[in-house]
Amino acid sequence: MMASMVANGNRDGQPLVLKGVDPETCMIVFKNHWTQVVKILEKHDPLRSGGGLPLLASISLGVGGSGGIRFGPVPSVDEASAVQNYVEHMLFLLMEEDSGREGAMGPILEFVVMENVMERLFVWSLRREFSDDMKLEQLKMYEALVGQARQPVLHHKPVLRPLMMLLSACADTEAPGVEGQLVLLLHQLCCVLAKDPSVLELFFHTSEDQGAANFLIFSLLIPFLHREGGVGQQARDALLLIMSLSAENQRVAEHIAQNTYFCPVLATGLSGLYSSLPTKLEVPNEEWHCLHGDDWARMPPLVQFLNSLEFCNAVVQVAHADIRDQLLGYIYNGFLVPVLAPALHKLTLEEVMTTTAYLELFIRSVSEPALLQTLLTFILLHRHDNVHILDTLVSRINTPYQLGTVSLALFRTLIGLYCEDVMLQLILRYLIPCNHMMLSQRCVVRERDCYSVSAAKMLALTPSCCTPEHAPPPLRQLDSIVWTRGHAAGPGNHGGATDRARGSQSDDGSSDVCVIGSEVHLDVSYLHYLYDARLGISECMRACQVWSAPYDGRDPPVEDYPPPGEARLGPAAPPLHPPPPPPPSTSASSSSSSAQHRHPTLAPPPEPASTNQQELEWDDSYDACPTQGAGGAEPEGGQALPRPPASEPPQHIQEMRRTAIMLVRGSYVEESDFQDDVMVYDLVAKRTTADAAGGGADPAALRAPPGGSALPSDATEAAGDGPSRADSSAPASAPPSPGERDCAATPESPRVDDLLTQYQELIGTLSAEVGGGSGGGEPAACPAPTLEEEEEEEEEEEMEGMEVDYSSFSADTPEPEKLQSPLGAKHPRPGGRGHAVPFTGPFVSVLLSRLENMLENSVHVNLLLTGILAQLAAYPQPLLRSFLLNTNMVFQPSVRSLYQVLASVKNQIEDLTESRKDFPGMITAAQHWLLARESSLGAADSAKGGAGAIVSEGSKVNASPQPKGVISLANTEVFAAVLFTEFLKELAAIAQEHSILSYIPMEE
């Protein structure tokens, strides 16, 4: 094994020491060895020619035919081992040689170049059986040479060319050992490239000799892009080296963007990997709401997906803008739109919940702003079946089971990004017109609450059963702190903050110093809230410095904004977006054009121009002898990816994408227990229908119109006829079925804008059912669904089912407040949306409506919910701050404020306290449980370092102690009462800190 010996020589610690050996002697030895080798080589060379070109011709045959054609007798074992010995020594001499003066070649290298030594050796190795072992040997030889030579050997074509041929020959290998060695060598070459970009030219140049401008090293790496394990990692590292090279080198960037499939492979690979993710996650417990490190570490497919996502993130970070934009375009159009969007609209709650959890994890995993932008563009602007993804996600907050919880977690992550675009779409755009408040209140928006009036009003809502005085001592953390009301000016009284001694009457008699020491009992926990509020607001303010406007009721100006009716619809209507995104469905389905469809903001330069398309290379297209090799040189392409015929490359990008999608779709559709979920869903639907019917005739009537068009029966059908339903509906939710999709997405479709309508319908339905038909006349106003609407209606129906089901949970504890729920009865039907009905947006509404139902929510949902609201309240924008925290603000009657909802919850708690004697005792037990949980979380957090504390809250299964027998978590109302009290403190603290922080000039 000539190479292995050479390669390992130094590592084994027994290097042949050449120090002090005369270079001329080395040269003589080298030449002698070569002479011996040549004798053997020529004996087996049928052409008996030392020339390079004929050699090449024969090589390519040898390579392509994989040993099929040989010349002369097979060399004997003795001959082979003799050559091997000589070569070992020769290589060693070559590696140890220093360059000559001024970078000239050393004599040995010069000889190697002149005599074409490397190429002839390569041919020799082909002549023997070109087995995997042989490849491995050769690869190792070059690895040693490239890695250890003291001269830049790659600068010389006679060294470079056989190397390229070797690489090309190894491309189709499947032996893991060879793959590993190949990637190792490629990685090494990339390192050389990164250090010495001048070599780059040679790599391109060498390729051009063969008639195509390609970049073999790069192409060879592509098939390993998504490989798991060390090989994949090394390949990705190597590719990243080239990516950073591309940032500096326009030619590399152009080549990669225009002549390779790097971006499509990377992006559609995500689709492929996504398809192997579990479509349903097992939810460990009710507390679970998002995927954590220990969750996904146990799921190899997810690990692999995240690796590739992380790689995309890295590429976006370092690559040339052309590549970056192209990649982002493909991720958008090749993964998000065709794969993730349908996955978010699966039929069962579980699947949708799983997808939502994945999406949340993806957002958390991405750090590069441009990639994040792509994800956010998808969420905020993409429309699936004419409904914005964002709106769908928002509506799911109000669903039962885990989906609502996971959706809350997703929004907590989104809000935590401090992203203006997100906040604009979710809330701010509804507040900008300022018509949620009375006209006279506009000037109040920027007002500061100098005297903590709002905080006081919030805290005054503390339920009587939860006041600090009612808590037994260990819970009641009242610390008595000396509140020096006057001025402790007595000499020697340095006490300050911690001093419990009363400020003594000053004895110097100076009349201006009056001292009234007095002890005041402070709720110490409130200090913690103040501290946290301070940190939270400061961080948020810092982050929001990059925002485009202060959102203070003046900028953006109230009047510049479209009237609220349109404002709501605006973002849904494409014309308002400067370059309208192509309808997603067409982009995914029409094969010829879709490659060019990208989201406007992501649009990379036009698809590799058609003039170039003829030259598009697939990753294996290094072909040593194109004229002859056509038959033999076909093989490579990376297992999953078919080699495209050279004539129509774009089709193949297309095909590849389709394959990935099909994979995804296939795995979803064929899911075995799909049927069960359909049935569960059906049961839910039936039950809600029943509930609705029981609630009164009106709600039933509301359901009737769609029922007439055979929609609700859909689910029933599914129960009886599961597979067929699955077959027919699953493709419907996945884009690329050109016919139906196109017609569904025709621009004439009347309902472009209708999230709001739907939303209000939804709310209307909800309140109608809860309130026993308060929405009496509504059904009449409901237009008969058109054909185009059907699908959407179906979705609607589904969501409706969830909603209603959710509310039915609470049906046994009817609250008077609910009857006048602002979301339902007070909202006019969509028909009236032309009027400027004050509306603070679906997100706020849904959050507040869940908050109002706090007593029925589980502890964990309430923690998430209050966490989100507290985060929102920490935003410094006056519009948001005044809406959430200013209790003095006068809103339009139809607008529900946070304070109103809190007051409603307080009343519910007070009612409970009165009606149940055991309530105070249970409160105490719940406080103990929560405290224990808090301390154990605190311990865990401090061990991990605080940063993740917020995220991890409520997520640690093991950390939660079981309630001490006294109280079960099922007593949600008791826990809610405790959390409510704490939430009031949290909000009050935020309001107080705002009164200071938001006004300190920035220089501070």
Partner: protein
């Protein structure tokens, strides 16, 4: 910035313990309340005291008298504290010329101040004063301003040094009156002399009858005040304002920092890692409307 780092830097030990007092202004009130600051749990509920049986009454706590004024009395101090902090931020915002204040370490109700008179009769005067805020602020009377050394002035009590503030704020109205207005008033009296209903009749009479004599008395008074400039603060407090003679070793660096500070804000924005995101074009209310497509950072 209300506190000029060069003067005060008194060398008392308590002061040294609290380094960076200049930076701490925003959170002046906190130290008083900070004993509980030791272990901040991430969230919400206070930690369980060690060794405390859940329900038994601890003797120590049993001693504590119940909070007096109704259910929520315990938050009262927080409201007061934050009201005063808000007032203080307002003062900062006003950038009153020649006036610097700093709340005391011991009480947010007591602020130390100094006023530099740059022209007029009292030119070159450097008067230290203390602001006393009533503890029922903002519903009480107006804050009092007392000069450390009674300046010779018709409106300054020659014995106590108290300035007649009340004449300008006969009734203190919350939301309308703010402490910065009191400070501005304290500055104005040295430029526009008012002699009606004086606290120092001698000064008032002199001003009206014999301005020359008045002037020379003022000059004497200014000299007297300035000669006591380097005295220890009258009230012993870590945050009391005290002056020391120029000491290049201490003050040069501080001075340099002050001048450099002006330039910093813009630079800061570039250096600091920005965590927020925005692709909204200024003037637009559409998401991702920025044309350059690259996130602002």
């Amino acid at each position: 910035m209300s506190v000029n780092p060069f003067w005060s830097m008194s060398t008392s030990t308590s002061r040294k313990q609290r380094a960076d007092d200049g930076e701490e202004q925003g959170s002046q009130g906190e130290p008083r309340a900070s004993p509980a600051r030791l272990s901040f749990g991430k969230k919400q509920l206070p930690a369980i005291p060690k060794n405390a049986a859940p329900v038994t009454k601890l003797t120590a706590t049993a001693m504590v008298p119940p909070a007096t004024n109704g259910t929520h009395a315990s938050y009262g101090p927080f409201y007061l504290e934050y009201s005063l902090l808000a007032e203080f931020t307002l003062v900062i915002k006003q950038k009153l010329p020649g006036i610097y204040v700093q709340p005391s370490y011991k009480s947010a109700l007591m602020w130390f101040g100094v006023i530099f008179i740059r022209h007029g009769l009292y030119q070159d005067g450097v008067f230290k004063f203390t602001v006393y805020i009533p503890d029922n602020y903002p519903d009480g009377e107006c804050p009092r301003v007392v000069f450390d050394i009674p300046v010779f002035h018709p409106l300054v009590d020659p014995v106590s040094g108290e300035l007649d503030v009340r004449r300008a704020f006969t009734k203190w109205r919350r939301n309308h009156n703010h402490i910065w207005q009191v400070l501005m008033y304290a500055r104005t009296v040295f430029y526009k002399i008012n002699t009606t209903e004086p606290l120092n009749p001698e000064a008032a009479v002199l001003y009206d009858k014999d301005v020359q004599l008045f002037k020379s008395k003022v000059v004497d008074s200014v000299k007297l005040c300035n000669s006591h400039l380097f005295d220890q603060p009258k009230i012993d407090d870590p945050y009391a304002i005290s002056f020391s003679p120029w000491n290049p070793a201490v003050h040069d660096e501080a001075k340099e920092r002050m001048f450099a500070h002006k330039r910093r804000p813009e630079d800061q924005h570039k250096g600091v890692q920005v965590t927020g995101l925005s692709w909204v074009k200024p003037g637009s209310t559409q998401p991702f409307s920025k044309e350059d497509n690259s996130p602002q950072s």
